[in-house]
Symmetry: C2
Subunit: 416 residues, 2 copies
């Protein structure tokens, strides 16, 4: 059916293809499918009773503020609470450095709007978060990529990429999506050093940083960068814009994220946000504040860490048990995902279709790359959203599809 609209779509929309993940998820919504595809937090951990109490309090004590229009910057007590929480991780900021966004996806959209002219090159990890690439594509981004390994982005390959003059770097240092890997301290220091040397600022996306179930917390890039700026005031923020979210610690259905940036950047982002949605739901901001405050959020995060740590353990154990030794995977110390690498010659898209026939799903690796033909031997597994039993059963089913494709390709399983 033709309409008067299609020939009027702006040039920028020609680069938008229907998201692969979106189409895939439709295939995997049948209840018999065990899906490791989505990035969903464990719904059974949502603090429903706390939400119920918080809604009552907010509507009893703050109904007008919660239901009326509010300031674009966000609800001040929530911004103050975020500032306080950031301090524990060494990030010294004040509420003027914090903008509340409608999920951290909106943070990516606003940053793309603020910084990307059509044709600008953005330096991203390969692979990287699909939603960021989608947000950047709308504004005409082109990409320079640097591969990751088990210690995060390959800083030894960074200088060449930086010389090509990217507008900014987009980096996920903790439990990367999709790689599941964490950037080492040495590489963090090197990255920040090179960022300053080449004058290329960093967007540090940290949705999972608090969900570490193993090992020691590592300093965020925004802290290492501030340390570089000796002699400046405590609240000086420089070369790094830091993003995070309540989606993985409270509930994604609230759509609450935040940006930490220098005041001058926040001022511009506030103007863009005003044109984008006026402000984020005041109701949700006040409810989230009421749920989180008084130490509940920290306690709740401990529970999430314990559950996700166990699920990751069960997934890795099942992979070791059921998968042939030619297949390898990352060992995330936190977050929601691990990343699988298949033997040479295998094709994750074909494997996806075979997996769905076995009633199990993942996201094919090529979705996370900016260049065609990359990531075909990889896929991403989510371990946060399934029970240990379903994780084990799902990995068993998946191993059948993997072994079938290996047989078809005459890849003979090695003797263990």
């Amino acid at each position: 059916m033709s309409t008067p609209w299609s020939h009027r779509f702006a040039q920028r929309t020609q680069t938008i293809k229907s998201s692969a993940i979106r189409e895939l998820l439709k295939l995997t919504q049948r209840p018999e499918v065990i899906s490791f595809a989505g990035g969903l937090p464990a719904a059974e951990l949502f603090p429903v009773d706390h939400f119920r109490d918080a809604c009552q309090r907010v509507l009893a004590d703050h109904a007008t503020a919660a239901l009326q229009y509010g300031p674009t910057e966000g609800y001040l007590p929530l911004r103050e609470m975020i500032v306080e929480n950031l301090r524990r991780y060494g990030i010294m900021a004040s509420p003027e450095n914090v903008l509340i966004t409608s999920g951290s996806q909106q943070a990516l959209d606003l940053i793309a709007k603020l910084l990307i002219n059509p044709g600008d090159r953005i330096l991203v990890e390969a692979p990287s978060y699909l939603g960021a690439l989608q947000a950047f594509n709308v504004f005409g981004a082109e990409y320079v990529t640097v591969p990751i390994d088990n210690d995060g982005i390959r800083t030894d390959l960074l200088e060449g990429a930086l010389r090509s003059g990217p507008k900014f770097m987009y980096i996920l240092p903790n439990f990367q999506n999709p790689g599941g890997v964490t950037m080492s301290v040495e590489r963090r220091r090197e990255l920040v050093f090179l960022s300053n040397k080449y004058g290329v600022p960093i967007i540090e996306d940290d949705p999972y940083g608090q969900l570490r179930f193993e090992g020691e917390h590592l300093p965020p890039l925004v802290v290492l960068d501030r340390d570089n700026m000796r002699g400046d005031s405590t609240y000086q923020l420089g070369n790094v814009i830091y993003l995070s979210t309540f989606s993985k610690t409270l509930a994604p259905g609230l759509r609450l994220g935040w940006i930490v940036a220098p005041p001058e950047v926040i001022a511009k982002l506030v103007q863009l946000k005003q044109g984008a949605d006026l402000h984020t739901s005041t109701f949700n901001q006040i409810v989230a504040y009421e749920v989180a405050r008084g130490g509940f959020l920290e306690e709740h995060i401990k529970t999430i860490r314990a559950v996700y740590g166990e699920r990751r353990r069960v997934m890795i154990k099942a992979l070791e048990e059921f998968f042939p030794p030619e297949v390898s995977w990352t060992h995330p110390q936190g977050g929601l995902f691990l990343w699988v690498t298949l033997p040479e010659g295998m094709d994750c898209q074909k494997l996806f279709r075979a997996a769905v026939e076995q009633n199990v799903a993942f996201v094919p690796g090529d979705c996370f790359y900016t260049q065609e033909g990359e990531g075909l031997r990889n896929f991403r597994l989510n371990f946060s959203a399934s029970s240990p039993e379903r994780i084990r059963e799902g990995i068993r089913r998946l191993s059948i599809a993997v072994r079938q494709q290996m047989e078809e390709l005459h890849i003979v399983p090695a003797l263990v």
Copy 2:
């Protein structure tokens, strides 16, 4: 304080000036100021008890759906309810025609993203809604303007403007913001006829249409347009994209609006929304559905209409009593605003400063125009957010500032 960011801002952000309204509102937040500046609905009418019950029900029966990620298109029962409500106004659509947005400001942002290439001309009413101009400016819009009078946009001046090839028309037919005027049926038919003749589609923004407290409901442009397309199926939507919101009927703090458009347009907007914020808060969508359903929304709107009708009556009575006869104003049959015209030579910006000294505020008229120097003899008054007593007192204060400026300019009040 300089940062590494400022010289990296994209070209599109150079057109963004800090919103005048935003700066003004800061001046007027002192409690002693009676503000007719904002576009706030009456907070005392928020159905707080219904919200409290709805939150309980949602968290008892739908907690997982409400707190988890949800579909980008929106919560299906809410989209179905919107479709049903639209039918009463003659708009025949199906849920596939409806996209839930984070307030109707996001609808404007997504439409601008979808349709505006830098330099595209957009046809807008003069004056028009400031938030729409902000959303369009970010994507490099230029403007063709057509003035409004008491019967809405001057369709007799439309053909010349349409010949200049605008990308689309942005029209507020009901209780226009800021004019307060409503487009006559004859002009609606003429507008739709010319839209088809010149192949220039229409964005019909209707946030206030349900808030009519006087006169008869008039057919929306989207209905008149469909009537033009004889022989097509019931659900055919053509040349008009229709926008509305729950901000003025339930609560703006929820940030819930919607777009009605042909499926092909919805499909593209869904992709853009995915990159912009993944989806609108599932919690708020389900709560709004629970509050609105079973006929409550219709009953509640009757209350709002009665209260706003009374406030508009009180404001006009006070204007008649206190203002000199050289000043005129519109007589809105619904909505939130009326529009004042001052005598030749007067300056609404100077008047604004004098008014704030009298502890009363409005929005100066030039804020609503795309060209410098227009609207200087006008200002917008909001009557929804103040009690009758404060309306009367505010208009009395404002009349002092008006008479002072008239005296300074030697504009002698006429004998009545």
